[in-house]
């Protein structure tokens, strides 16, 4: 049995032996045809496995296990740790060998799943974001995804609830920003959270709640979403036979209640658990109340805390008020899986705190960011969570990081104007010509969606003044004053534009304008101050003394220059830049054949390559297509534009129009900005005539760019 030669090699040179086993060079006869982890199951001592149940009917072995291999797990542990750390720093292999290399890494990550390898586990748990960045680069398809295998390792043994939010997000996001495999992983991982003696149903509840959360994000699917929910619940029930049918019915009824009675009844019926008739329920009490958890505080308590923060005299005093409230809400989240109360309370309290105080206390800063990251993991679809993160970063003295967050937001939320305006302001403040171009582009996007956006006009006026484009400066400043006649910023900008132009009569015109403004709107400190400056200049001019208007300009912000040193944030910055590269036309010449990207990435690559394959969508199952209704429809429409005669185009256009009408009607109530965004972009596409395909491709790219995993710092 030549595998023992490999065992000897492992004792002598662990890392080399590990490398040989993974790449298939090791002499492991007769185990050549099994995966290395199955070989290891065969040859390592049974007590080195993480789980090793004695099975019903298992024959008592005639020969007891010898201890000849007792030292191998430790050698394997050392060798694997070294191998993984070395690989993370090594350059990737050439494209032709990447598939086999990714398979090796996937396999390597099976070992700590099956065996107690404490050193490897500790290494993998440390620097999570860096591991994920490396593994993400090796992910070729849903089923050759080392990142998935990494998460499996973490899921298998959990000493606390730290990773709970990841598991919840996997369940919700599977099929969108992650492959559908993550749904199963998320559920199994929730089941592996530590058990609680005073709440033994917690892990089961978390699984069900995660599925409810998933359903609530997919109600637009109609019946298939409900069927999926029932199917997944059936699996959860099968894995958890610790409740009898009657208790399950009551338990599920309680957790499904937010879906409404009809849907709850449908799901229970699909599970073969017909809801008990109300006459048979225990008198005076709803059985499901036993399983219902109440949130720790009412909304009024949160309002009270926010008021206390506003009235507080120090950061410490404010923190003392909100900390216990947030701790209680986080605890409720960990017990219930319901993030609603936690994110709402955090948003209100943290926003109030950050608006009042810079976050200088390291302890408060650290805890607050933990909570903000948690909120983003469980509710990344709400731009308010991102704006809070950005605000907190600025208040913590990280303006560059705040800017990256805004860039990420701009990509995730194409209809969000606030992040664009804020980002443009930061870019303008940097005084870099490149940044100014970006700012201009962002503000034009804002005006396309909201022509009367005051902040966009005022910032554009500022930019125009800088480049001495007086006509644009005056136009935008005047637009600002038209939108809000009492807007001091626009008034000052208008005066500045006049004054700096230095045409005959400009300085008196500027003074006259500002004088009228401050008379009409007293108390505008900036306008009054600038009026004094202009009057002073007028006086100097009369005295024949010269001065330069450039002296009036705000200095460039100096707090943005320090380079980022944290590798996790550097990875985030790189991903922000990479996003822009992917979108560039001609970013890839051909579609790679050894990869199976998720649907958004596949469409994005096709758009970048200008390859409008008729059958691209057919590579994806119906569930995958259902996740991206707008993108798939737009793709189909653009494909028709690309390939078909005018009659067919008109039919496709009508079909798209009908779908968009329904979508915008549905969005008008809850997401008016989305409705506006859809209408404007569709109108722009239709107005583009011969350029419709290019305009549509750009729109599709923007839409597809939304679907991406969370940034690296949120995985740290």
């Amino acid at each position: 049995m030549s595998w023992q030669r490999w065992a000897d090699a492992l004792r002598l040179a662990p890392r080399q032996a590990v490398a040989d086993l993974l790449r298939g060079a090791a002499d492991v006869s007769p185990f050549e045809r099994v995966a290395p982890h199955e070989f290891l199951l065969a040859v390592l001592p049974r007590n080195s496995r993480n789980v090793s149940p004695a099975l019903l009917g298992e024959p008592r072995s005639a020969s007891a296990e010898t201890d000849a291999s007792a030292d191998l797990p430790a050698c394997l542990d050392a060798g694997l740790t070294d191998w993984l750390l070395a690989q993370r720093l090594a350059p990737l292999p050439p494209a032709g060998k990447l598939g086999a290399y990714a398979a090796q890494v996937c396999e390597a990550l099976q070992w700590p799943l099956y065996f107690a390898l404490p050193q490897t586990r500790a290494a993998l748990q440390a620097e999570r974001a860096l591991w994920l960045a490396w593994l993400g680069a090796l992910t070729l398809s849903a089923y050759r995804d080392p990142e998935y295998d990494y998460w499996q390792v973490l899921a298998a043994q959990q000493a606390d609830d730290q990773l709970q939010s990841f598991w919840q997000s996997f369940v919700v996001e599977a099929g969108r920003t992650r492959s559908a495999r993550y749904l199963n992983l998320g559920l199994l991982a929730l089941a592996k959270l530590p058990l609680s003696e005073d709440d033994s149903l917690r892990n089961l509840r978390l699984q069900v709640q995660a599925l409810v959360n998933r359903y609530q994000r997919r109600t637009g699917w109609g019946a298939p979403a409900l069927e999926e929910l029932a199917l997944l619940l059936r699996g959860v029930v099968a894995r958890n036979p610790s409740l009898n049918a009657a208790h399950y019915r009551t338990f599920l009824s309680a957790l499904l209640a937010p879906l409404g009675e009809d849907k709850t009844a449908s799901v229970l019926s699909m599970l073969g658990m017909n809801p008990a008739p109300s006459a048979q329920r225990p008198a005076g009490a709803n059985g499901s109340a036993v399983y219902k958890l109440d949130p720790p505080g009412l909304a009024t308590e949160t309002d009270e805390a926010v008021r206390a923060v506003r009235l507080s005299r120090s950061l410490a005093q404010a923190w003392k008020v909100i900390r216990p409230l947030l701790v209680a809400h986080e605890d409720f989240l960990h017990k219930s899986g319901d993030a609603h109360y936690f994110v709402r309370t955090l948003d209100m309290c943290a926003r109030a705190l950050c608006r009042k105080y810079p976050l200088r206390d390291p302890e408060i800063q650290s805890r607050l960011f933990q909570w903000i990251h948690l909120a983003l993991r469980v509710d990344a679809d709400d731009p308010r969570r991102w704006m809070l993160w950005e605000l907190a970063l600025r208040q913590a003295g990280h303006p560059q990081r705040a800017q990256w967050v805004l860039w990420e937001m701009a990509r995730r939320f194409p209809d969000d104007l606030a992040c664009r305006v804020e980002l443009a302001r930061l870019l303008v403040a940097s005084r870099s010509p490149d940044d100014e171009v970006q700012a201009h582009r962002l503000l034009q996007q804002v005006l396309q969606l909201e022509p009367d956006n005051l902040h966009a006009h005022s910032t554009l006026a500022q930019l125009a003044i800088r480049r001495r484009d007086w006509s644009q400066a005056l136009t935008h400043a005047q637009q600002g004053l038209r939108i809000d006649p009492g807007d001091g910023t626009s008034a000052v900008l208008l005066a500045t534009a006049y004054a700096w132009r230095e045409a005959p009569g400009d300085l008196p015109a500027a003074i006259d304008h500002l004088q009228r403004f401050v008379t009409r709107y007293p108390g505008q400190v900036n306008a009054e101050g600038y009026l004094r400056t202009l009057l002073q200049r007028q006086q100097w001019a009369a005295q024949g003394r010269l001065s330069t208007y450039a002296d009036d300009e705000e200095p460039a912000r100096a707090d943005r220059v320090s380079p980022e040193t944290d590798p996790v944030w550097r990875a985030f910055a790189a991903s922000v830049r990479a996003g822009a590269d992917v979108a560039a036309p001609g970013a890839a010449a051909t579609l790679p054949t050894d990869r199976a990207p998720l649907l958004p990435q596949a469409l994005q690559q096709a758009v970048a390559c200008n390859q409008w394959d008729a059958d691209l969508l057919e590579r994806f199952d119906e569930a995958a297509r259902r996740e991206f209704p707008l993108e798939t429809r737009l793709w189909q429409y653009l494909q028709t534009l690309h390939a078909s005669a005018s009659g067919e185009r008109e039919r496709a256009k009508q079909a798209m129009q009908t779908w968009l009408d329904a979508e915008t009607r549905a969005a008008e109530q809850d997401a008016p900005s989305w409705a506006v965004y859809l209408n404007k972009r569709w109108a722009a596409l239709n107005a583009a005539a011969d350029a419709a395909l290019a305009v549509g491709a750009e729109w599709l790219n923007d839409l597809l760019d939304r679907h991406r995993p969370l940034p690296a710092p949120l995985f740290a």
């Binding site: 050549e32 070989f39 199963n184 590579r619």
Partner: protein, 332 residues
């Protein structure tokens, strides 16, 4: 198989013999293989490149298998053995519907922390009740349990790798009778699965799987876009990792010749062989599991000498088939 210049010397018996019995056997397999087309061999050589040692050859071979045969389930191309480039090895797709058998190890499921609980619940319920496994319809809870077990098992099967299978007909054609016998060891030996069980003291839980030729055909049709032109093929030396337990079979004209497994319990020169074929991968269904059992006894070919002798007997048997007298060679 025609080998590239760097591989030719490595495949010669003179160079392979000093590298050990296992290398000697796999090198011989390359010399004897006739079912690999020129085009597929070219692809193989392009991947493997200029290797100088048997170790590097093994490693590059595994890389080839991982890239072109054990492909991820969702890759838009099938395992290469079902594609046109492997046409020389393809079997007739028009064979009558028949029952296929596979022996599956379940050991890893019980030791995988995220899957072990459902695997255990399933095992507890069905190990002693193989008749229930054969039922089309179980109670809701049992059906849910069986389905969930298979769902979790399929979730672990991340590759669309070709499935080694044989015919139930070749085991007497009576599944119930087979199940009543010591099927785990019988199949292990007849199918030449030398790595079951792992080592002494570690009984290996296994499942007897049974599915149909029609199900394979359907799976291939469903995956038609992946470039698979055949659902059945005979195994070649390129379709799995290098192993002494595999011996190529003579290539008969007309796409009618299967692979033949090495019988681990055989004692003389065999007159009959167990057919072996690769089927297009299918997702397992609960009904495919027919019995559960353990492989606890070691097979007879634990030592290199015994393996070499068994291979020699197998080759001698193959040479007695009509028109195959010049196939292979006895390795002294």
């Amino acid at each position: 198989m025609n080998l590239s210049p760097p591989l030719q010397p490595l495949a010669s018996d003179a160079v392979a013999s000093p590298a050990g019995a296992a290398i000697r056997c796999v090198a011989a397999n390359f010399r004897w293989e006739r079912a690999v087309s020129e085009a597929r061999a070219d692809e193989y050589h392009a991947y493997v490149g200029a290797v100088a040692t048997h170790r590097d050859w093994k490693a590059e071979h595994k890389g080839y298998v991982d890239s072109f045969v054990h492909v991820p389930k969702d890759l838009p191309r099938s395992a290469e053995c079902f594609m046109a480039v492997n046409g020389q090895a393809h079997l007739k797709d028009q064979l009558d519907n028949a029952l296929l058998l596979r022996l599956e190890s379940l050991g890893h499921l019980f030791n995988q922390p995220l899957a072990s609980e459902i695997a255990n619940i399933f095992w507890q319920r069905f190990f002693n009740y193989p008749k229930d496994l054969k039922k089309d319809k179980l109670s809701d809870s049992d059906e849910a349990l069986r389905s969930e077990f298979v769902t979790q098992w399929n979730a672990q099967r991340t590759q669309a790798r070709p499935m080694f299978a044989t015919f139930l007909n070749d085991f007497g054609g009576d599944l119930a009778a087979l199940i009543k016998s010591d099927w785990p060891h019988r199949l292990r030996d007849r199918l030449g699965v030398t790595h079951y069980p792992g080592t002494a003291g570690k009984p290996l839980p296994v499942a007897l799987m049974c599915y149909t030729v029609d199900e394979v055909r359907q799976a291939r049709l469903t995956a038609a876009r992946k470039g698979a032109v055949a659902g059945f093929t005979r195994p070649t030396v390129l379709d799995a990792e290098l192993s002494a337990a595999f011996i190529p079979a003579p290539l008969l004209p007309g796409g009618a010749s299967y692979g033949y497994t090495l019988d681990l319990a055989g004692v003389g020169v065999p007159a009959n062989f167990t057919p072996e074929l690769l089927t297009f991968p299918i997702e397992y269904q609960p009904r495919h599991i027919k019995a559960l059992g353990f492989i606890s006894r070691e097979h007879a070919l634990q030592e290199d000498d015994a393996m070499l002798a068994a291979r020699n007997r197998h080759v001698q048997g193959l040479q007695q088939l009509p028109g195959c007298a010049d196939f292979g060679e006895v390795l002294a």
